[in-house]
């Protein structure tokens, strides 16, 4: 268990720095408490999963991390800076990347352009520079295109000149990850990345998530229903139920936790 009063850049037991720290996060909608006083840490280079039955508050929590909701109380610290009240685009600039449960690509852009749009905040080309076509801007654009192609290669896509929305489903998922990677995130939020995938595609995506950490040194926060994915790649798993954190630990620990089994058996869904 992490120390509840950890400092801004506190180290946990193993002496690893935390990328993200959430303290006492609460969100109420009217009288309904969706998330209740949740503490949560994501260490550097870790894959952390957030699971729980439907309506447990996972998505609300996720939306608070990415900035779509502002918590009623509590705070988020990303790499030492308080981001609780920051807007989504400011968080992205701070190094937070995300994908969406119901893929939200820029449908009428090509795959490369999607990645280039994701790179937006890491490019410097000014408007005047773009209009005049200064050497600096041209060079940056050329390098950006090369990097975009490299990123597409990394996720296993080739830069095809079709609209993103015409890509096969599995490729769209991969493209969304490539687009998120383009903004050089330190922490990547993946919202049910294997939803709607067949076992083969799921296995390939699981492998890709592993490589995000191994090859790019990213931390990943994963919301996932597919328990095999969660249990095979997570370093740590946090379980929410009715807005409360009921369990936290390694996949093995969580799997054996009585309260988790009860929470899952208590609802129709067993993952």
């Amino acid at each position: 268990m992490p120390e509840p009063n950890g400092g801004a850049r506190a180290a946990n037991g193993a002496g690893v720095t935390n990328i993200l720290e959430a303290r006492g996060i609460t969100k109420t909608f009217g009288g309904l408490v969706a998330v209740n006083s949740v503490d949560f840490d994501i260490p550097e280079r870790a894959i952390v999963s957030l699971i729980g039955p439907n309506g447990a508050g996972k998505t609300t929590f996720f939306n608070m991390v990415s900035g779509l909701y502002i918590p009623t109380s509590g705070r988020f610290v990303l790499t030492g800076r308080d981001i609780t009240r920051m807007k989504p685009h400011e968080r992205a600039q701070m190094g937070l990347g995300r994908t969406f449960q119901n893929i939200r690509l820029f449908g009428t852009m090509s795959a490369v352009d999607n990645v280039l749009a994701g790179m937006h905040v890491r490019l410097k080309g000014s408007i005047l520079g773009s209009i005049l076509g200064t050497p600096g801007v041209s060079r940056e654009e050329k390098e950006a295109r090369e990097r975009a192609h490299a990123l597409l290669g990394f996720v296993g896509l080739r830069g095809r000149q079709t609209f993103a929305k015409n890509l096969p489903y599995g490729d769209q998922r991969r493209l969304e990850i490539a687009r998120a990677l383009a903004s050089d995130p330190k922490l990547l939020l993946l919202d049910e990345p294997t939803a709607g995938m067949n076992p083969q595609e799921t296995a390939r995506l699981t492998e890709l998530i592993g490589r995000l950490r191994e090859e790019r040194g990213l931390s990943v926060l994963l919301i996932e229903h597919e328990m095999r994915v969660v249990m095979s790649i997570s370093d740590r798993v946090t379980v929410l139920d009715h807005g409360e954190k009921i369990s936290e630990g390694t996949p093995t620990e969580v799997r054996q936790d009585e309260r988790v089994i009860e929470a899952y058996l208590g609802t129709a869904r067993t993952g």
Binding site: N63, L68, Y69, I70
Partner: protein, 364 residues
């Protein structure tokens, strides 16, 4: 909890609200307060004139409110700013004028009704003009929806808005061909004499006429929406089209009924406008339509009582601006109200739908 505690929490909440309010909203409140204070000074200096002006504002506001209801009904149900609605109102005034002048398609059906006609003929003429204009505008509105908006039900919102603007120009030019570019006079059927004794406060027969037509219409509309099956269907469709369809509500028919109602109110409003102001013109729908849209937004678009309150307020703001700022500034004042309401309180005074994007940020 004791009452004392409650008061304490209330004042605390107010303080909290003040602390959290942006400088913009504080400024807005201050400006509104200043305006009210200035008006109050005028009211004390010349109460008769102020009251007369207030009454004229109410009458104008009633005419605007009827148009505003058409915007708000349609927006409530298909989230479209029906830009052509103001021009439908103009067509209503033209239809009314045509009926009163006794000509239809070039045929002289009866002698034109003028100020010299007998009282019974005048009353009957006005009633017939109202009914014909209401029917014509209702059907016109339904027709416009069928032809121009229905095929675009799944298109981007702005595509439908552009279509509505196109329809607005088409109607305006129909009016231009019909009655020409100049202002056309309405017969002077209703007396401008003051009902009230003395001339300190002016409340004319004309004003009474407008209120006498508007109030039954509002009561009827309210009854229709609250108590009839079709009215309930409208509310259901406004809430959730798909769910309404699933429980067996005919969504297309319900939308048509909504346009019909909006058109009927615009038709009545058009005839009243003509009789009240003595003139009408082919592009009257643009300005009046914008005033009415402002009213709908001010009250909270999609909110029916909001449209009425907003209409009356816009009427009063307009008449006050006429008197105390100068007639030529009135339209600027009202458009400024439109802009300011949308910027500072897009949900309107009574609030209903969020005008800003993203559910989270819309919460004030």
């Amino acid at each position: 909890m004791t009452t004392g505690d409650a008061t304490k929490t209330l004042s605390g909440a107010l303080l909290e609200g003040l602390r959290h309010s942006s400088w913009q909203s504080r400024l807005a409140v201050a400006v509104v307060a200043l305006m009210l204070a200035l008006l109050l000074v005028q009211a004390v200096q010349d109460p008769g004139q102020f009251t007369s002006q207030l009454l004229i504002g109410l009458t104008n506001g009633a005419i605007i409110a009827l148009i505003a209801l058409g915007y708000t009904l349609v927006y409530g149900i298909i989230e479209l700013i029906n830009f052509a609605h103001g021009d439908n109102f103009m067509i209503g005034s033209f239809v009314g004028l045509t009926v009163l002048s006794g000509t239809l398609f070039g045929l002289g059906l009866f002698a034109p009704i003028s100020g010299d006609s007998g009282t019974i003929i005048k009353v009957a003429g006005v009633l017939i003009a109202l009914v014909v204009a209401m029917a014509a505008c209702g059907l016109l509105n339904v027709g416009i929806e069928r032809i121009a908006y229905k095929p675009l039900r799944n298109s981007p919102r702005l595509a439908v808005l552009i279509t509505a603007i196109g329809m607005s120009f088409i109607l305006q030019n129909v009016g231009l061909v019909w009655k020409g570019p100049a202002q056309v006079p309405f017969p002077d059927l209703i007396s401008s004499a003051n009902i009230l004794p003395g001339d300190a406060i002016v409340f004319r027969w004309k004003d009474l006429f407008v209120l006498a037509v508007t109030i039954p219409l509002l009561v009827g509309l309210s009854y229709f929406i609250k108590n009839t099956k079709q009215g309930k269907a409208m509310r259901a469709v406004a809430q959730d089209k798909e769910a309404a369809a699933m429980v067996g509500i005919n969504v297309n028919r319900t939308i048509s009924v909504t346009f019909l109602l909006g058109g009927i109110l615009a038709g009545a409003s058009g005839v009243m406008y003509g009789l009240f102001n003595g003139i009408t013109v082919f592009n009257v729908g643009f300005t009046q339509g914008l005033y009415a849209f402002t009213a709908a937004v001010l009250g909270g678009i999609g909110n029916l009582s909001g449209a009425v309150v907003g209409g009356l307020l816009i009427g009063i703001i307009g008449s006050m601006a006429d008197q105390y700022v100068g007639v030529r500034w009135t339209s600027i004042v009202i458009f400024a109200v439109l802009v300011l309401v949308l910027v500072f309180r897009p949900t309107g005074l009574l609030g209903d739908r969020s005008a800003t994007q993203g559910g989270g940020s819309g919460r004030a």
